[in-house]
């Protein structure tokens, strides 16, 4: 059974939005990592053995600068680790949506859960300042949750009919009557 074009439109839209989300998150991670002065961080870590001496000799301003670059690096790495699973799930979910697999919805929803969870962790963690990029990510996730949970999308994925088993028609699209 070929999917109905009208009812498959929101599914393809969600697929594209998920790809957009994955690209955006990769971009944010890349931007965060590129912002870090890695040479400074490396030299700091090399001089860790002489930490005590440095602390005694260097000025207060120098110390603060080094701490800041270290924190920035740590935050960028933590953000990358936190968002990486949701990027993977968003890509898998997008593929699932584009090929109409029943698991697509679950993967896409889990991607939102993990993204929002990561945002909450970064927002509430008191070690560093609240990163500004969490707000647009949160907003995007809220809109995605509303869209994923809308009747137009969920009826397609959670109909009582079992999906067709033939290749490329993994899911039977049932119009809401």
């Amino acid at each position: 059974m070929k999917p109905d074009k009208t009812s498959s439109r929101p599914i393809r839209a969600v697929g594209l939005l998920l790809i957009l989300q994955a690209i955006g998150l990769v971009g944010l991670i890349a931007y965060g990592l590129l912002q870090v002065d890695w040479q400074q961080v490396r030299s700091d870590s090399q001089q860790q053995g002489l930490e005590l001496e440095i602390q005694l000799d260097s000025s207060q301003q120098q110390q603060e600068g080094e701490e800041e670059s270290g924190l920035e690096a740590a935050r960028a790495i933590v953000a990358a680790i936190l968002f990486l699973p949701s990027i993977v799930l968003a890509i898998l979910g997008a593929l699932g949506f584009l090929i109409f697999s029943r698991r697509g919805w679950l993967l896409a929803s889990l991607a939102q859960t993990l993204s929002l969870g990561a945002c909450m962790e970064l927002y509430y963690d008191s070690v560093w300042e609240k990163p500004g990029f969490v707000y647009p990510v949160m907003l995007y996730c809220i809109l995605m949750i509303l869209y994923l949970n809308s009747s137009a999308v969920r009826v397609v994925f959670h109909s009582r009919h079992k999906p067709a088993k033939t290749m490329g028609q993994d899911l039977e699209v049932v119009r809401d009557s």
Binding site: L110, G117, C141, H158, S159
Partner: protein, 623 residues
Amino acid sequence: MTAEHVEADAAMTLLRRFEPLMHFTRGERFYPMDVEPYVRSCSLWVQHADEEAVCLVPRGELTSEDLAQQPQDEFGATHFLRFTDPQSFRELYSRRLRRKHVSEKRKEPDNVFRAGRGRLARVGYLSRVVDALYSLALLARGRLPGEASFASSIRYQHIMSEREQYRYHGRVLRQGDWIVLQYWFFYAFNDWRSGFYGANDHEGDWEKILVYLSESETGEVRPEWAAYAAHDYKGDDLRRSWDDPELEKVGEHPIVYVGAGTHASYYSRGEYLTELEIRPPSPIARAVDAIRSLWRKRLHQYSGDGTRSAQNEAPNLFVVPFVDYARGDGAAVGPGQEKEWEPPRLLDSPSSAWVSGYRGLWGFYAQDPFEGEDAPAGPMYNHDKSVRREWYDPVGWAGLDKVPTQTEALRTILKQRSDVVTRCAMLRAEIEQKSDQLKRLGVEVAAMRGQSHLLASYEAKKMQLDELSREVEQLRAQLVTDKTVSESLEGYAAQLQAGEREPTRAHISRALHPVSDDEGRTGRVAEIWAAVSVGLMLIALVWIIMFQRQAIYSALVSSIALFALLEASFRGRLANLVSSVNVGLGMLAALIIAYEFFWQIVALAVLIVGIYVLWDNLRELRR
């Protein structure tokens, strides 16, 4: 429509002709019995507010005549019977008697109850938590002692050993065109909780089924409907047409599948999931309903599988699950069975003065605020001493007051059609008269238009004209509707004349169904999980509080997530869990954004309104 009694002989004949055949579940210990031996085994007590209960008539001296007198009645008094004596519980519950009871049970393995799939595996986690709280609350609430069921069973066996008898109590009355047969069954004890993992136990139990007959012009009676009472259901959903395949019969005897312990009556054999609903306070319930409506209707969010029940019935999280087992695999009582009915006791006979005279309870008064553990009142009264609807209005009780008998149906339809046709003729005449009036008023108004000296009259007449015009329009609409109704009635009458009947189940909106085999099938692991999950959760909670204080929040979140994940996986509801978590996180994120960017959001909203107003006004200019 008032109820009239039927003569005793005729009543007895009708009752015996349509008396039911009752199938019980294995493990049932109490069967329908005559009230006389029960009353003789009871003592009569009265409970006044804030006082100790007083024994009015001791065991062995009580008769049904004493009951009818209801001595020492006053405001706030509650009379009740005691079938078992708490002082003798210990003696009755002695090791020797228990051993004897167990060995007797072993001798009759055909009458041993096995629960099968646990009720807890059929419902959600929160329901199980509420169930645990409900069980704990039993300790604080008034309840029947655990030994009462065993003691009652022994006393009942004693009565049966003196004279084994199975009897129902009958009542026959005419209400409108209907002849109503009421079959009342009295059981010595309801052991749903202690015997079948149910919600409550109580002494004394009154249950009923009703059969509705119509009478032809030749005086021949025909059964048309039956209504089985189960767990306080009422109205249309209670009754089944005599032709409905769900209503099983042997000859003219309807078959009743009796709930184990509850003695509720069912049309089909099976296991019924009944839910004891604990509604939150009304302001909270209203707020939840408003949010749900916004979520579904305004935001077009998914709300189940689109069925009416999923859309309309608000899921209540505070539900305690219980299973009512009406398997019909135990003993059978009724015509042609090993256990036959004795001639019924008529409730309207002069010897049954206790029916109207005794407003008290038919067993121990546990003073349970939910009334589940209190014995019920008699067939005529509710727990609060008001008269039961099924007693004074048995036709309305089953929603039959709007349904004519088959004999009367055609006559009623034709009479109604004739009324509608007459109404149409009257409407037509009225429309004609008012249309003429309208035309005359119209020319009068047209003639006055533009005449400055007639302004006041013109305005008054114009108003009158508008009003009359509206009235004529309404009359015409009414006429069209009436014409359509008349045609429908004509079609309906033709259908009946051609022998067509209404669909037998068209009146049912919420039928009770036993749990299907698919629903009942589950893995052993899931069942074990359902049984241990609440306890494990509490143990985990204590462990976290005692040993994980440093990382208490993350430990709590992780353990809740783990339990939720396991639960959702076992119940195949992972999608629902993810969806719920997402909604929760989304709401939190929305609050954070609103908190962080409050003024920016306000400014943006004003900006959007400004742009919209600008665009709207400019668009008007371009036209």
